[in-house]
Structure formats: structure tokens, C-alpha cells
């Protein structure tokens, strides 16, 4: 008896409906991933446009042997932690505030979705103009108020922080929307019981809201971590990885290998290392959340 004939009629219908979508996924995601593996093991460069001869893990060794790769990795981790933390804290605060708002709530949500709907390239260009040190409106305003202008992207000590702030500005709206939906779905009974017991607003937040929101929060954090690890558009438009290597994140490192160094194979290897890093982080993060859920004190 074949597997197909053993399946129930409902299961077969389910597979039939899922088949077009799954096929599309295999084509648009599976094929590039497999091809990227092949590239990373091959001799493919923009000068030698053939996969053969295959070089094993030589490209990975070259990437891992570059000190700049480790610098970019450490910088990407710092950048991702700062941006995701910023997005989460601000996003949660806004979501909590919006929960209390009765009038114009739809309008506030509509305004909040604007940054999310914008292309990161457009966002970067807008902020590049706003923060232009000499003629940009932000520094002009600061000077008008009697302060010194700030070298937002030209100061190696400030460039990464400024880029993170731009990123937080754009990405926070997504966090707000998801957390607001999570907050709206929380049951009222625990709050009513807590009020009867005399719990204050802060106690309710830390002992009821946060624990119940944990699954939604974990998903938001993981999605944003993945997003931030892949950040490419902002350094490309805002700083080109500079000054020096001050904003060279892993994606930009991979891009430089592939397109400036003409080494598509090394670019693919760097991309795969990035993917493995993100997957590992995601697994670790979910494990931590799971462990906390199942621990006796949770």
C-alpha cells in the first residue's frame, strides 16, 4: 500500500492545497539556499563564472581567517543586541500606552505603521539628509538652539549608535503592533484578581503582563534578531561600513567579498556562516524561553 493511499482523504486534500505553496517555497527559498551552498564550496567568482573545480571548505577557511570577519561578527552582535533591546523596550512602552488610549487609536496605529511600510533604503536616505552634519535640519536646529552640531556618521565612536537609532526608529512600529495584539489578547481575570488583592500597576505589569506576554515577546525578539543580523541597507546607504570599519556589519562584509572582491564563493561562504549564526541564536533563545516556561518557578 503506498503512502498516498494510506493517507486519509482529509490529509490528501490538505496536501493538495498546500502543494502549490510548498512548491513555490522550494523554488524561491530552497533553490537559492542549496545553490549558495554549492557556491560556497566552489571556485565561482565574477571572473571565473563556473562552479568547478570544487574547493571543499577553503572559502570558509579564508573568510574565518580574516580578522575583519571576527570584527564584523562582534560588531553585528553588539548592534543586534542594542537595536533589539531598544525596539523591544520602546515598542512595549508604546504598546502599553496605546492599550490605555480609547480615542483615535486607529489613527495612532496608522501613523505607527508608516516607518514599517517604508523601504529601508528610503529610510536611510531620509535620515542621511536629516543628519547631514553641515546642512541637515537636525544639526541646523541644534546650532539654532546654541548647541554644537554633531558628527553623526563621521565620528567612529558615534556612527554605529546613530545607525542603530535609525534602525530602531523604523523597526519599533512592527514590535508595537505585535505586542499590542498580544496585550489585547491577554485575559482580564488575573488583573481583576490582582486588583482585589491590592496589587499596584507595577506589580501587575511585572507579575501578570510580562509573564503572560512572554510567548509573543519571544517571537518578536527572535524575528527582530534575525532582521538585525541581516542588516545591510542601512550601512550601505549611510556609511559604506565606515569610518574605518566602525559600521561594517556581517552582511556588508559578505557583500564586499562578493561584489567588490569579485569572489562570489567567499561571499556565499560568509552568508552561510551568518545564516548558521542566526539559526544557532534562534535555537538558543527558544530553548531559554522554553526552559523558563517549564521551570518550577515560572
Amino acid at each position: 500500500m503506498s503512502a498516498l493511499s494510506r493517507m486519509s482523504r482529509t490529509a490528501r486534500t490538505g496536501w493538495a492545497f498546500a502543494a502549490p505553496g510548498l512548491s513555490l517555497l522550494v523554488i524561491v527559498m530552497g533553490f537559492p539556499l542549496v545553490f549558495a551552498v554549492l557556491m560556497s564550496l566552489s571556485s565561482l567568482t565574477l571572473r571565473h563564472f563556473r562552479l568547478a573545480p570544487f574547493k571543499g571548505f577553503e572559502n570558509f577557511a579564508r573568510v574565518l581567517g580574516d580578522p575583519l570577519f571576527w570584527e564584523a561578527t562582534w560588531l553585528t552582535i553588539r548592534y543586534s543586541v542594542v537595536t533589539v533591546t531598544g525596539e523591544f523596550v520602546i515598542g512595549l512602552a508604546l504598546a502599553l500606552m496605546l492599550q490605555k488610549v480609547a480615542r483615535w487609536r486607529g489613527v495612532y496605529f496608522a501613523i505607527l505603521t508608516i516607518p514599517m511600510a517604508m523601504s529601508p533604503i528610503a529610510v536611510a536616505l531620509i535620515w542621511r539628509m536629516l543628519l547631514q552634519p553641515n546642512l541637515g535640519i537636525v544639526n541646523q536646529t541644534l546650532r539654532g538652539l546654541g548647541f554644537e552640531g554633531v558628527d553623526w556618521f563621521g565620528d567612529p565612536g558615534l556612527a554605529l549608535a546613530t545607525m542603530a537609532a535609525v534602525d530602531i526608529w523604523q523597526q519599533t512600529s512592527f514590535v508595537v503592533l505585535i505586542l499590542a495584539a498580544g496585550l489585547a489578547s491577554l485575559p482580564r481575570e488575573p488583573y481583576e484578581a490582582a486588583e482585589v488583592d491590592g496589587a499596584g500597576a507595577l506589580q501587575q505589569f511585572f507579575y501578570i503582563t510580562l509573564p503572560m506576554l512572554r510567548p509573543v515577546a519571544a517571537i518578536v525578539v527572535v524575528i527582530q534578531l534575525i532582521n538585525e543580523f541581516r542588516t545591510y541597507d542601512l550601512p550601505y546607504v549611510l556609511t559604506r561600513g565606515g569610518p574605518g570599519n566602525a559600521t561594517e556589519v556581517l552582511s556588508y562584509f559578505a557583500y564586499r567579498r562578493a561584489f567588490l572582491g569579485l569572489a562570489l564563493n567567499e561571499g556565499a561562504a560568509a552568508s552561510w556562516i551568518l545564516l548558521i549564526l542566526v539559526l544557532a541564536l534562534t535555537v538558543v533563545f527558544f530553548r531559554l524561553v522554553e526552559r523558563h516556561e517549564t521551570s518550577p518557578g515560572a
Binding site: 547631514q132 553641515n134 558628527d151 563621521g154 565606515g242 569610518p243 574605518g244 567588490l260 572582491g261 569579485l262
Partner: protein
């Protein structure tokens, strides 16, 4: 149900196929990716003449320089390039022909009788002509010179050494409440091109006559020292992340004394409509020290387009570099690559500074041109940025830049 839906589904599929397929290719349309600079606008204004003469339409897609290389490489490595006419920077004149992406234009030039001797020889050298093999036909030059404010300089003469000029720029910033030197210090092409002027003007070079790397020399260290000093004491705030657009805006707004930039920036700035703060107060000179960075763009034809498109692209190149169109371009502010345009009385009467531009072009020296030039700009640019931001010493940065060049040339 399925039987009922089938005819309408087929009809929809046919309509979709017709829409996606678009009109039949009855005529060639030339498509070129162009840098968004005044020269492109000048050529674009003349395109109706070409279409009227040949019936061939030309579409320019204008973008910033920083995005051009990658977009072109993706097309040139694809089965068929979307761009069937190429504008090629001299920095890619090693990479593109070496990779086998460009058609040899030599046979087309010979068959059509194009006057190749009318071009400035240095432009052919810059764009990789090898005897009868012509991968790229010169389009315009972008040698770099010093654009400065005559009203701020007053009666004092321009210093004849780079060191003297940096002193002057530092003084201007301190005394005249302007930026002494508007600088494009963003890592990569902007700061590599700018620094090359400091290098050549200090008497140093990247390579010697035999092609050996000689960057890490006393003169090279002096050049980088002056570059760092200019960046920290004479340049605008944010110079470390500034590009050509930023320096142009600063100069146009009247907030800078000088900039080392492409000489054709002068007509764009010396324009009362666009830059009233500085129009009539600007002049051009060879970079103090005697040499600046030389550069140029050329026309190419990709191999991965049809013969019909190649023929149309050549017709365009022949037209746009013909004497009458070159003169029309020069009268609109074009940076010529043909000697006659620099000597044309009508052109000189309209733009007297073309005489200075000729000197700037003649004094120009070239960035190293080889397969990995684009990558080397990134390597050098990173080291310059590290030195200018105090994250590396002049000695460390120059040694790393020299090693990077030697390594890439050995690949």
C-alpha cells in the same frame, strides 16, 4: 465547476501572457546606466537629435556612482544584459575587459572610419586601448583639480605646494568662518580618489614605471600626513562620511573655500541659477604640487546582447563622439576627450577656463588600473578612513594600503 472555470482561466492566462510578454521587439531601444552628473544631463538633452536621425530610442537610467558597479556586473554576468550600451568608468577598465564582458570596438571603429587620432592619447591609455583592440571608447574626462573661491583668496597667490595649500586652507577655516577644504572622506571611491591627488601632488605614486608597488614611501607618508591634517583641521564636520554630493552642496552653499574635485564641477557651481552664493567667484587650478588624479568614462558594448543591439549601440557611440556633437556638448559644459574641443574658439570664448581645464587634464596621473581596482579602492579607502579618524597611524595605514595593493595585483 472545473468545466465552467476552465475557459475563463484559459482566457485569463492568455491575457496575462500577453501582458507579461509585452510588445514585439520591432525596434531597438538603447538602455544605459549612467552616473547622475552634469555630463549625463548634457548628453541626455541632445538625445532627441540622435533619435530623429536614426530612429533609435535611447533611455538613460541615472543613479549615483556608488551603486553603478554592482548593477552593471550583475547584468554583464547574466545571460542577456538589460543595458545594451555601457558607460564604463576607467576604474573598471581593467576588470571588465579582463572578465571578457566587453565587445572589442576596434573592428567597428575601423569599419565606420571613426577618427581615433582626434582623441587625447592619455584617454586611450586610461581606458585600456591596446593597439587595434579597443574595449572602451572615451566619453569624457574627469581629471581632478582645485576649485577655489577667488573672493576669499583676494590678492594673495595660490601656494604652489600642497603643504602650502593645506596651511592656507587651515587659515581660511580659522579666519574666514568657512570650511577650508570641502572633503569627500567616505570610505571607498570618494576618499581613494581624493587622496590620490594628495599622493600625486606630493611627488609619490602607487606604482613605478615597472609596475612595482611604491606607495609606502617617504613621499607617500608625507601625502597621507597632509591628508589627515586637512581632514582634521581644514575640512567640514562630517567629512569622514562625506561624498561628492556633500562637498558639492557645501561649495554651492558658499560655505567652503575650496574643494579638490572633478574640474567639470566648476560650470555646475559657477551657475547663478543653482549656486547664487558662489557664481562668478570661482576659479580652477592644477592641484598645488603639480599633479592631480586623472580619470575618465568611456562607452562600451556588452557581449551578452544581440547583434542588432550592438549595431545600434555603435551607431550611438559614433554619433555622440562625432565632432559636431562633441562641440555641442562642449558648449554645454562637457569635459572633452578630443583635442579639438579644447581648442575650439567658440568653446573658449564661452568657457575661458577650458584653458585651465586643459592644464588639469595634462597634469593628471592615474589610479592603478587592474582587475581588482574596485576592490583596491575599498582596501585603500578603509586605511585612509582609519588614519583620518585616528584609528591607525599614518605609517600603519600606508603600509597596509601598500600591502593590499601588492596582494591584489598578485592575484
Amino acid at each position: 465547476m472545473i468545466r465552467q472555470l476552465f475557459p475563463s482561466t484559459c482566457a485569463l492566462a492568455l491575457v496575462a501572457a500577453a501582458v507579461l510578454a509585452g510588445p514585439a521587439r520591432a525596434e531597438v531601444t538603447l538602455r544605459a546606466l549612467m552616473e547622475d552628473v552634469p555630463e549625463t544631463a548634457i548628453i541626455e538633452s541632445l538625445l532627441p537629435q540622435f533619435t530623429e536621425k536614426t530612429g533609435i530610442k535611447v533611455e538613460f537610467e541615472k543613479i549615483g556612482y556608488g551603486d553603478m558597479h554592482d548593477k552593471l556586473v550583475l547584468q554583464l554576468t547574466s545571460p542577456e544584459s538589460f543595458y545594451n550600451l555601457l558607460s564604463v568608468d576607467f576604474l573598471w577598465a581593467g576588470e571588465f575587459p579582463e572578465a571578457g564582458w566587453l565587445e572589442d570596438l576596434g573592428p567597428m571603429a575601423r569599419n565606420s572610419g571613426m577618427n581615433l587620432d582626434g582623441f587625447i592619447p592619455a584617454m586611450w591609455d586610461l581606458l585600456g586601448r591596446d593597439g587595434d583592440t579597443i574595449p572602451i571608447v572615451p566619453m569624457y574626462n574627469y581629471s581632478m583639480g582645485l576649485i577655489y573661491r577667488t573672493d576669499l583668496l583676494g590678492d594673495q597667490p595660490l601656494p604652489d605646494t600642497l603643504e602650502g595649500f593645506i596651511d592656507l586652507a587651515v587659515r581660511m577655516k580659522a579666519e574666514k568662518d568657512v570650511v577650508g577644504l570641502a572633503m569627500q572622506g567616505q570610505r571607498g571611491d570618494p576618499n581613494s580618489m581624493e587622496f590620490s591627488n594628495f599622493l600625486f601632488a606630493s611627488g609619490a605614486d602607487y606604482l613605478d614605471a615597472e609596475g612595482n608597488v611604491v606607495l609606502d614611501s617617504d613621499a607617500g607618508r608625507k601625502a597621507l600626513g597632509l591628508y589627515v591634517r586637512a581632514m582634521t583641521e581644514a575640512a567640514q564636520q562630517g567629512a569622514l562620511n562625506a561624498n561628492l554630493d556633500d562637498t558639492r552642496r557645501l561649495m554651492c552653499a558658499g560655505e567652503a573655500f575650496a574643494m579638490i574635485s572633478y574640474w567639470w564641477m566648476l560650470p555646475a557651481l559657477d551657475n547663478a541659477a543653482d549656486c547664487p552664493a558662489v557664481a562668478g567667484k570661482l576659479a580652477l587650478a592644477v592641484v598645488p604640487g603639480g599633479h592631480g588624479e586623472s580619470g575618465g568614462w568611456g562607452w562600451g558594448i556588452p557581449k551578452n546582447v544581440s547583434d542588432e543591439e550592438k549595431a545600434a549601440a555603435w551607431a550611438f557611440i559614433e554619433w555622440v563622439q562625432s565632432p559636431e556633437i562633441v562641440k555641442a556638448r562642449a558648449l554645454a559644459g562637457h569635459a572633452p576627450v578630443q583635442t579639438a574641443a579644447f581648442e575650439d574658439a567658440e568653446v573658449l570664448a564661452k568657457f575661458p577656463y577650458y584653458a585651465d581645464a586643459g592644464k588639469v587634464v595634462a597634469a593628471g596621473k592615474s589610479f592603478p588600473i587592474f582587475t581588482y581596482t574596485a576592490q583596491y579602492e575599498d582596501v585603500l579607502g578603509t586605511q585612509l578612513s582609519l588614519a583620518a579618524s585616528g584609528q591607525a597611524t599614518v605609517e600603519e595605514a600606508l603600509a597596509a594600503a601598500a600591502k593590499g595593493l601588492a596582494d591584489l595585483m598578485a592575484q
